[in-house]
Point group: C2
Chain length 337, copies 2
Amino acid sequence: MGNQKCGKHSFILDKPPVITTWASVAGKKESEGPLSSTFDITKKDSYFGEKTWEQAEKRMQQIALEQLSKKAGIPKRDFGLVFSGDLLNQCIGSSFTLRNTGIPHIGLYGACSTMSESLLLASMAVGGGFFDKVVAMTSSHFASSERQYRFPLGYGGQRPPTAQWTVTGSGAALVCAGGKGPQITGCTVGTVTDLGIKDANNMGPAMAPAALATIRTHFEDMKTSAEDFDLIVTGDLGQLGKEALLTIAQKEGISLGGKLMDCGTQVFDLLKQDVHSGGSGCGCSAIVLCGHLLDQLNSGKLKKILFCGTGALLSPVSTQQGLPIPGVCHAVSICGG
Amino acid sequence: MGNQKCGKHSFILDKPPVITTWASVAGKKESEGPLSSTFDITKKDSYFGEKTWEQAEKRMQQIALEQLSKKAGIPKRDFGLVFSGDLLNQCIGSSFTLRNTGIPHIGLYGACSTMSESLLLASMAVGGGFFDKVVAMTSSHFASSERQYRFPLGYGGQRPPTAQWTVTGSGAALVCAGGKGPQITGCTVGTVTDLGIKDANNMGPAMAPAALATIRTHFEDMKTSAEDFDLIVTGDLGQLGKEALLTIAQKEGISLGGKLMDCGTQVFDLLKQDVHSGGSGCGCSAIVLCGHLLDQLNSGKLKKILFCGTGALLSPVSTQQGLPIPGVCHAVSICGG
C-alpha cells in the first residue's frame, strides 16, 4: 500500500521509521532541574569552551552529534543526512556544526518547532526510501537568544513574569529504516497561525492556537483522539501557554483528556529556578524528547505520544515593525519500541 | 523497485514528480535585464505597495503564490504543503506569507540554495507518496538584504567590484505526482563546504567549492557526466564565482563540458546594469528557474539540466566574529516535459 497522505495535512508511514538512538547535551541551569539525570552530557561552562555564545551553541550541536555517533556505534561520516536548524540568525549554529564534516545537510527554520520539524522530515526521507540513518537535530542557548531577540545580558533588563527562559541545550535523534527503538507512525504538518498577539515576552499564548490547530488536525486526519495517547507533548508553551491551550481547547470542544504535558514546564523547576513561565527555545523540546521521553518510550513506560513542537515565528525586525507573532506546530506520533 | 538512495548523497525518484506550474515575480532592475520577458509579474515599486522592504519581500512571495495558484487553476487552500525560506532573519518573508492561509508550511534555511533545497524536499514529499501538489518557493530583496547583511542603503556605502547585487524577486514551483511538465528525476543533497574565504563582499568564490563538491558527487553517485546535460546551472556564483568554479573544476579534472551557466550572470546585463559580479540572493536562481529555464524545458528547447542552487551560510554575527563563509549546494536533475 505504501505511505499515504491522510486527511488534510497528515501522512501515515507504511513502514514506520525507527528512532534507534538519541543524545542530549544541556547547560548548567538545565542540569540543576528535575530532568538532570536524563541528559547524556551536561556542562557547567556556558561557553562550552568557546569564545562566544554563538560558537558555544555550535559546540553543543557538535557534542550532541558526536554523542549520537558514539551511542549508535556509527561513524559520523556514515550518517546519510542531517536535518537541523536553530534560532540564530541564518542558523549559524547548525551550518557551522556541519561544515567540512562531509555529511549532507538540509537547513531548517521552524523556530522552537525545529525538533518536530526535523523528525517529520527525517521520517519522510527514511520512510520514502530516499535515505537511511537520518539525523534530526536542533539547539538553543539562553545567552545567544537573549542577545539576539531581547537585550544583551550585560544590560541587566528585567524579565517580565510572562517571559520564558531559553533552554541551553541540544538534542539529536537518529532515524533509521530498521532496528530497535521507538517508531514514528505518522505526522501532521502545521499551518502558520496568528491570532494577533504582539508581546515578544509572552510567546506561549502566541503559540497555543497553532498547537491546538495541529492537534485538532492530527485527531481529525488520523481519526484518533487523546485517548489513544499516553501523553500529548507540546514544545515550549510554558505555564501560561499551557493554560491558554487548555482554555481554548475546552472552548472549542477538543478534549486533551488530561494528557497534556509541556516541555517548557518540565525542564525546569518552575517554583525554585526563577524561570517565570518556564523553558523555551528549540533546545527545550529537543532535550526533553532526546532523553526523558524517548527513554520512557523505549522502556515501555510510555506506549504512544504525540510530540508537538511549537515555534514562534517572530523576528526582532517584525516586532519592531509592529507585527504580531505567528506560531507553528508540527506533530509527530511516536510509539514505544 | 521504488525510490532509492544512490551512491553517497543522492537519490533517484521511481516515479519522477512533475513540475506542472511555475510563477515568478521580479523588481524594477530585474525587469530591465535580459530575462525581462520571462517573468510573470514585474513591479516598478520596490516596496510592492508595502511600508517596509521586509514586508515588500513578503508581498512578493504572496504574489508569486497567488500567480502559481492562478496559473495552475488550483485554489491556494488546495496546495498540500509549501516548502519555503528566505534570507531575512528568522525567515519572516516566508512565515508571514503563509500565516493564516491554512496551507501546511515547512520553513527552510539554505540561504541562496533555497530554490533547489525546496525543490529537492518537494520531490521527496511527492515521490515518497506523502503529499500531492507541493510548492517550492523562495524570495530575496535587494534593499532588505543590503540593510541586513551589509549597510543601510541610506549610508551610501561603496560596493567593491567583487560584490554581487541581490535580486529582488520571488519564484514558486508546483510539484505534483502526475500531470504535464518538466520532471525531477534525481537529487543530490549538499555538504557544507568551507575553504576559509572570509570576504562577505566576495561570496561567489566562497560558494564555488560547495558547487563543485555537489556536482562531482552527483556525477559519481548517478554515474553520469556533463555530457548528459544541456546545462549545468549554478545559483548565484556571479562572474567571479563562475570563473573560480571553472578553475577549480579544471584543476581537479572534473569536466563541465562547456555546459556551465550561472543564474547570477544571466539575470542582469553585467556590462550595462552596474551590478559588478552579477546577481545573487535566493530570488536569483528562483526567478531564472521559474521562468526562463522551466519554460525552455517545457518547450523542448532544453532536454535536461542539473539545477544547482548555491548558498553562502554566513551571518553578520559570524562575519563579525571573524569566521569564514561556509557554502552549500543542492542539485536537482530536471528533464524536459
